[in-house]
Amino acid sequence: MIDEIEETEIPRDLVIEEKKRDRYKELIDEDSGSPFAGQQMSKLFMVSLGIGYDQGLQKSLDSRSGSIPWSALTKDEQWVIKSVAVKEADDAEILKDGSQVAQIVQEYANGGFEYIDDLVRGPKDTLSTLRTEVVTMHQDHRPDADVTDDDD
């Protein structure tokens, strides 16, 4: 549900749920054994956003903790964020409303993170599972792209 568009700046920090903060840190810890070990929190946020968006796992935040500085995101990541907001609003005008853009992607990332967390705790190999998902999705969306998968 998109609210009325107001001209607002994108917030300085994108936020995650306060109660997920520790788990975020655990998953990027060097010794965690997760596919995100040793990475920045922003990378895990972006993967969470991708999964949340793809699977429609929008989930509002109970409590907030500023964690992902907008300036820490690469240009590519910022464009992915903007595109998710435009698609969600079905209108490019949403980009004028930085607060709403942030809210949309934060909610998708919140739902997506729970999916990743369940996967890491489960019996499957997380890296292998996600890699297979990404490759399959790429082939579905861009069948003409010059990528071959030996598994096919």
Binding site: V47, I51, Y53, W79, V80, K87, L127, L130, R142
Partner: protein, 657 residues
């Protein structure tokens, strides 16, 4: 030094008093009494009301009747109000002058009565004003209440300005409450009461702040238990590490035996096995690196790939805008700006005002919607990002291929190592100093043990990390509790101090009240015996529970058998005792002082009354049935001013006698 007196009361159009009327009440030396005589309804009580209205904005001696919030008995003079039309107003005032020798005080309160309808009026009173005369000048004072409190504070006014009718009922059932209120009123302990209430409020607030749970010992015990468990785990880890080192040393020892064998075949196989083991270690490390890189690439590919359709959609939107002309080439924007800045067209003609407006509107249109730079950027960036997605997926697949290759190599190397082991087990050596089969069996056991110990080490390292976290959390909990305890101890000290302060303030109050009771008892006895018409002396006892005993010469308590007149004298004595000990040397005004007393005792009281509060100005408002010839003759030597309230219909005039 003479006591303060009421010099005069001036009223203008107040109740029965028509127009401006002034009553001079200044008394002189021994002649300390004023008598204002008037029939019932002539305005006696309203003279007392005039004084309390002026000073305290209240009329306590009035039976008020209101209908729909409107007064039937308004401040304004009814005779004058009759002449007003609906909606018109009448203004009046009451002025009371006080003084000793100097300074003189002129308190004044004005009022307005609006006629709302037939027998319906609305009253409003102004604030009290005060002029103070020092020498020959009257100065306006901006704090009249503060000055009034120096003369006659609101708490004690009832013992100086009162209705004699009240004396009738003073000693009826539950009279001790009346006595207590009187004693408290004149004891000036209100400051102590406020202090006590403040101390109690602070105490309650402090008690609310105290969140100390008293779990310090429990928490300390839990923390010590956790630390013991952590220590045990550290000990276990040391033991595992030591066992692991010992196992590895034994493996090395067994392998050295094979490496140093005289049998060339055994030496070469062992050498090959050592190399394979080194290779296996490197392969496993390489696999780990590839997986880490794979994770990095996945983190870059996933957001793009999962959001392909969003990127496609956004690109479509931008292209649509472009097709609609909402996304002009950047050059157009620069061009319009340049034209506006130069103020000249490319043809050389100056840009007219109309054109300038058109250009500005066009520029605004161009700048509306998406940020132009963003649009232009998006048109090129989104396809590039999608290509990055493709490139990253390609890298992912490449890495996956490399990982699989490494996994195969790992599998081959493990097979090679196992084959060497089997070969050596079955090899029949000529070297008698070495039992290869036994060594291989031992190596099997040691390697199994090494694996088990490595697993145990990993588990215990993880257990230690978790336990350390538990210790840290418990330690933090204990630290918080200790801070609370520190705060609690501080609060306990404060609470003890407050409790002691409350007790002390209470003791002081009781001491003050005890002293006032004792003084009151003495004064009541003095006045009662002075005013009572009987020859015997009575002893008055004012008990701690504020009951009063009137003891005759035989020590019998007569309070229950006092006549109505005697009770009124006792009440008058009590009121007089309060005025005497209140510390205020204010004048006394009593309305109907002898109303319920029969003729003989009334004469006796009239005889004694001038002396009973020496030096105090007394103003009596009396009916003709009270102010009889006998009473007048007994009081005449003490009377300074005598007035008659002459009443006809709605008008009363004050006539000097």
């Amino acid at each position: 030094m003479s006591r303060i007196q009421i010099h005069s009361v001036e009223v203008k159009d107040y109740r029965q008093f028509h127009g401006k009327q002034r009553i001079e009440l200044k008394t002189d030396g021994k002649k300390n009494i004023n008598v204002i005589e008037g029939e019932n309804g002539s305005g006696k009580s309203n003279l007392l009301n005039a004084i309390t209205f002026c000073l305290y904005d209240t009329e306590e001696h009035l039976e008020e009747s209101k209908e729909e919030g409107l007064n039937v008995y308004p401040y304004g003079n009814r005779d004058k109000l009759e002449d007003l039309d609906e909606g018109e107003e009448l203004n009046g005032y009451v002025e009371v002058r006080f003084g000793r020798d100097s300074p003189e005080y002129r308190f004044k309160r004005s009022f307005t009565t609006v006629k709302k309808g037939e027998n319906q009026f609305s009253d409003a009173s102004d604030d009290l004003t005060l002029q103070r005369k020092e020498g020959s000048d009257w100065d306006i004072k901006d704090d009249p209440i503060a000055h009034l409190n120096q003369i006659l504070p609101v708490d004690v006014r009832d013992y100086y300005l009162f209705d004699g009718e009240r004396l009738d009922t003073f000693f009826e059932e539950e009279y001790s409450e009346n006595v207590k209120k009187g004693i408290v009123d004149v004891s000036h302990i209100d400051l102590l009461e406020r202090s006590e209430n403040h101390l109690k409020r602070v105490r309650d607030q402090i008690q609310d702040k105290d969140d100390f749970s008293g779990k310090e010992d429990e928490l300390r015990e839990e923390l010590n238990e956790l630390r013991d468990e952590l220590e045990d785990l550290e000990g276990d880890k040391e033991e595992i590490v030591s066992n692991l080192e010992e196992t590895r040393r034994l493996i090395k020892q067994k392998e050295s035996k094979l490496e140093d064998s005289d049998d060339k075949y055994i030496r070469s196989r062992q050498e090959q096995r050592s190399k394979a083991k080194d290779r296996l270690k490197n392969l496993r490390s390489r696999k780990e690196n590839l997986q880490n890189r794979s994770g990095d690439v996945l983190a870059e590919a996933a957001p793009i790939v999962y959001c392909y359709d969003a990127l496609d959609f956004t690109l479509e939107q931008i292209n649509e805008l472009h097709e609609k002309g909402k996304l002009p080439p950047r050059i157009q924007d620069y061009f319009i700006r340049e034209l506006l800045e130069e103020g000249e067209c490319i043809c050389g003609e100056p840009i007219e005002e109309d054109h300038e407006h058109e250009l500005k509107d066009l520029l605004e249109e161009v700048e509306q919607g998406l940020d132009e730079d963003e649009n232009l950027e998006g048109k090129s960036e989104i396809p590039r990002i999608q290509d990055v997605g493709t490139e990253k997926v390609s890298q992912l697949l490449d890495l996956r291929g490399q990982i699989r290759e490494v996994e195969e190599e790992i599998s081959d190397t493990e097979t090679e190592i196992n084959e060497i082991k089997e070969e050596l087990k079955q090899y029949d050596t000529s070297d008698e100093d070495i039992d290869v089969d036994a060594i291989e069996d031992q190596l099997d056991d040691l390697e199994d043990r090494e694996e088990t110990l490595k697993d145990q080490k990993e588990d215990i390292v993880s257990d230690i990390a978790l336990k350390q976290e538990e210790v840290d959390n418990k330690d933090e909990e204990l630290t918080k509790e200790l801070k609370k305890k520190e705060k609690h101890q501080d609060l306990v000290k404060k609470l003890e101090f407050l409790e002691q302060s409350i007790d002390h303030v209470n003791e002081i109050q009781q001491t003050v009240l005890g002293e006032i009771r004792s003084q009151a008892q003495e004064k009541i006895e003095e006045y009662f015996n002075q005013l009572i018409w009987k020859d015997e002396e009575y002893e008055i006892v004012l008990e701690e529970d504020y009951t009063i005993r009137v003891l005759d010469e035989f020590g019998m308590d007569k309070i229950g058998s006092l006549s109505a007149g005697e009770k009124q004298v006792l009440a008058l004595s009590f009121m007089s005792a309060l005025t005497s000990i209140s510390g205020f040397e204010a004048p006394i005004v009593i309305d109907t002082p002898l109303g319920r007393i029969s003729s003989e005792p009334r004469n006796r009281i009239a005889e004694n009354i001038p002396d009973y509060i020496e030096g105090t100005q007394l103003t009596f408002l009396m009916t003709d049935s009270e102010y009889t010839t006998q009473v007048e003759s007994r009081m005449k030597d003490s009377i300074s001013n005598e007035y008659l309230l002459s009443n006809s219909g709605l008008k009363t005039e004050v006539v000097e006698r």
